[in-house]
């Protein structure tokens, strides 16, 4: 049913640290690698070795230049499904293929019910959904439902593939509905923000803004270099000759 649950028991989601993300694309490839064999498999690539490569990806990393009166900085920006509390992508679905789980708040697509009308992708302001032209259905991030509850994996590995892959720990996974969870504390401490809050989708995921830059230059203890004094004698004569 595409009506939304009044409340979800948990609000599982991601917190992405824009301060430490280095834009290495490890999360992008880890996501593709896991999910092309996972719940929404396959993530089809069209013409992968040709001139017009296209394909389905759940996670895309952009790069922006953010310029303020304090100067400019490069910000790497991973973009994926935010598992919104008011996901219009679900309510617009005419077939019941899209749904939001009452247990953990994850937004999923039932591939067997999807007719490929693409309306959900129009309803998503964040570009989280991508159409698989080969299979004819819509695909999206599953928050790795087939990892986070997977008893066959070691407990440490029961996190989304993108979180497991991140070399700088810029990606965090947890219950954002529980104010005592580590991930909620992190959002609290770093002033995490929601994207496009004005549209009212109430995204679950949060982004941690880059930390304020330091206004102090690094302190260097070594004395400044001084010019060598021209001396008399043989060395002084050479110095004068070479200086001419």
């Amino acid at each position: 049913m595409t009506c939304l649950p009044v409340q979800t028991d948990k609000k599982l989601g991601l917190v992405i640290d824009l301060d430490t993300c280095v834009g290495c694309q490890a999360c992008v490839t880890a996501c593709k690698e896991w999910n092309t064999g996972g719940h929404m498999a396959p993530l089809t690539d069209i013409d992968p070795f040709g001139g017009h490569v296209d394909g389905v990806w759940f996670n895309r990393v952009h790069a922006y230049e953010h310029t303020t009166e304090l100067g400019g900085r490069t910000v790497n920006f991973p973009r994926s499904c935010l598992h919104c509390e008011q996901p219009a992508c679900v309510t617009v679905c005419p077939t019941g293929a899209s749904y939001k789980r009452a247990s953990d708040g994850i937004v999923l697509v039932d591939e067997d019910k999807c007719i490929g009308c693409k309306l959900c992708s129009w309803a998503c302001p964040y570009g989280a959904r991508e159409f698989d032209t080969d299979v004819g259905v819509m695909k999206k991030c599953t928050l790795c439902v087939d990892r986070i509850y997977n008893d066959n994996l070691a407990e440490d590995d029961r996190v989304p593939a993108c979180v497991a892959a991140c070399p700088t720990s810029a990606r965090h996974f947890g219950d954002l509905g529980d104010p005592t969870s580590a991930i909620s504390q992190l959002v609290e401490e770093r002033g995490g923000v929601a994207l496009m809050p004005e549209l009212g989708y109430q995204p679950t995921n949060r982004y941690l803004p880059p930390r304020a830059r330091s206004q102090r230059a690094a302190k260097v203890d070594a004395p400044a270099l001084v010019p060598i004094k021209a001396e008399g004698g043989f060395l002084g004569w050479i110095d004068r000759m070479l200086s001419n």
Partner: protein, 312 residues
Amino acid sequence: MHPAFSVVFFTTATGAGYGLLALLGLLGGLGFIPADFWLGLVGMALALGVIAAGLLSSTGHLGRPERAWRAFSQWRSSWLSREGVASVATFIPAGLFGIGWVLLGKSSGWVAAAGLLAAAGAVMTVCTTGMIYASLKPIAQWHSRYTLPAYLTFAAMTGSVLANALLQGFRQGSRAMLAWALLATLAGWGWKLATWRYNDRLEIPTTANTATGLSGGTVRSIEWPHTEENYLLKEMGFRIARKHSAKLRRITQALAFAVPAILLAIAFFLPWPLGAIASMFAAGAQFAGMLVERWLFFAEAKHTVTLYYGRE
């Protein structure tokens, strides 16, 4: 937004078809148009034929058209599902009205009731189509108070001009019907101009800053996540040059509004069959013009996802 021809044709055709069906149901049911076999047959075949062609065209947009029946299930939350239910449900009173009015030559009792129900169903279906677009918050040009009245006005306009051509063709035309078709065309023109004026001055609160959560200053895209256009850019990143947009707006105004209005005005003074021919040309020009209008409706609509790609 990418103007897919299947959807452009679908919304234009069903608008005209439901407009015509509503008028036939209303005027036939209330006895303003006498039950006439050939007029009724051609009229109902035209209305239901155009609707069916539009509905079939819409399935061309689907990735898995064989599962289209599933779209009738989620009417509680989805305007697209409601449109599916309303469009098919309207065929029931429309079919009954067709049998009674065309085949039995009746226009009272249950036939009148079926006609009025078909008209109500047609109006409701057009409302659901309009709401599909009006409910989409990421597209500011659609999520406005202009969208739903536009769909209703244009359905009434194209339906009235078609109905006038039909009645004129069967020598059943009247000055009242001509005047109504002309007024509807002028109303449609006015609404389109007001919509363009509103959209051109639209200030969208969503920016690259709110899209990325980076507050203050400017946010400039310096690198895309991919080198080629992906689904998002193909489907929602469609761009149209300003000069083409201006030219297409002029073509829309000429074909959909100005030419039909002039032809309908001239038809007042023309004897049969010249008046009928002018009315038919008016309907043809208007349908072509509305296809251009609907193409622009998509092409000029900007989705918030383009902000992530540095497209204003």
